[in-house]
C-alpha cells in the first residue's frame, strides 16, 4: 500500500517537473518568436533602403559602419538561425507534451488501482 503511495508521489513529482520543463520551453519559443518578428522588420527596413544608405551596427558601446549587403546578409542569416531554432524547440514542445500525456495516464491508472 505504502509502495503504491510512494509510486504515486514519484509519478506526480515527475509530472510536475515535465510541466516546469514545458513552460520554460514554451517561454523560450515565445522569445524566439519575438526575435523573429524583430529581425523580419529589420529585413523589411533594409529592403526599402538605397544601396548607399548608411547602416551602423551596435557592437558593445561602439557603432560600427556596415555595408548594406553585409548587413542584409547578417540579418538573413540570423533569421535562418532563428527559424531553425524555432523548429527545434517546437519538436521539444511536442515531445514534452507526449511525455506529459503518458505520465498523466500512468497516474490515472495507478489511482484507479488504489
Amino acid at each position: 500500500m505504502a509502495d503504491s503511495q510512494n509510486l504515486l508521489q514519484t509519478l506526480t513529482d515527475e509530472f510536475q517537473n515535465l510541466q516546469k520543463d514545458l513552460s520554460s520551453v514554451v517561454e523560450a519559443r515565445q522569445k524566439l518568436e519575438s526575435q523573429l518578428q524583430e529581425n523580419k522588420s529589420v529585413q523589411k527596413e533594409f529592403a526599402g533602403l538605397d544601396d548607399n544608405a548608411k547602416i551602423y551596427k551596435l557592437v558593445g558601446p561602439v557603432l560600427l559602419k556596415q555595408d548594406k549587403t553585409e548587413a542584409v546578409m547578417n540579418v538573413d542569416k540570423r533569421l535562418e538561425f532563428i527559424e531553425a531554432e524555432i523548429k527545434r524547440i517546437e519538436g521539444q514542445i511536442t515531445e514534452l507534451g507526449t511525455k506529459q500525456e503518458k505520465k498523466k495516464m500512468e497516474i490515472l491508472q495507478l489511482q484507479s488501482q488504489l
Binding site: 529589420v42 544608405a53 551602423y56 557603432l63 556596415q66 548587413a71 540579418v75
Partner: protein, 151 residues
C-alpha cells in the same frame, strides 16, 4: 487554446473545482493580455516622443546652438548638432540606419500605426477574455449556490 464557444457548452457540466480552475486560468490570461497592452502603449508613446524630438529638435532653428549632451545621468558636455538633415534611427536588433529627418518621421509614424493596430487587436482580446471570465464566474456562483442549498 480552446475556443470560447466550446467552453460555453461544457461550463454547465463542470464541477465547482473545475470551474474555479478555469476561472483562474482565464484570470491569468487576462492579466497577461492587459500587461502586454500597457507595454505596447508605452512603446507607442516612446515612438511619438521620438517624432516630437526630431520635429522640434533636429531642425535649422537649432543648427548653430550649443547643446548639452548627456554623458551620464549627471554629466553633460556642450556640443552642437552635426547635422540638421540626418538622424540615426534604431531599427532593431542592434542596427542603426542614417535617415533624413523626413524619412525618420515617416519610419516612426509607420511604427506608431503598427502599434495602434496591435493595440486594437489586444483590446478586443481583453474584452473577450473579460466576458469569458464573467460567464465562468456566473456559472460558478450558480453551482456553488445550488451545491450549498442541496447539501
Amino acid at each position: 487554446m480552446a475556443a470560447p464557444q466550446q467552453q460555453q457548452i461544457d461550463l454547465s457540466t463542470l464541477s465547482v473545482d473545475n470551474l474555479a480552475a478555469v476561472k483562474k486560468q482565464l484570470d491569468d490570461e487576462l492579466e497577461h493580455l492587459t500587461a502586454s497592452f500597457q507595454k505596447l502603449r508605452q512603446a507607442q508613446t516612446r515612438f511619438r516622443e521620438c517624432i516630437g524630438a526630431v520635429k522640434g529638435g533636429v531642425n535649422d532653428v537649432n543648427a548653430g546652438k550649443t547643446l548639452l549632451i548627456p554623458l551620464t545621468t549627471s554629466l553633460f558636455v556642450p556640443g552642437t548638432l552635426s547635422s540638421t538633415e540626418n538622424v540615426l534611427v534604431d531599427v532593431g536588433t542592434g542596427y542603426y540606419v542614417e535617415k533624413t529627418t523626413k524619412d525618420a518621421i515617416s519610419f516612426y509614424n509607420a511604427k506608431v500605426d503598427q502599434l495602434t493596430k496591435s493595440l486594437t487587436e489586444i483590446e478586443k482580446a481583453v474584452q473577450q477574455k473579460g466576458q469569458n471570465v464573467r460567464l465562468v464566474e456566473e456559472v460558478l456562483r450558480r453551482k456553488a449556490l445550488a451545491g450549498s442549498s442541496s447539501s
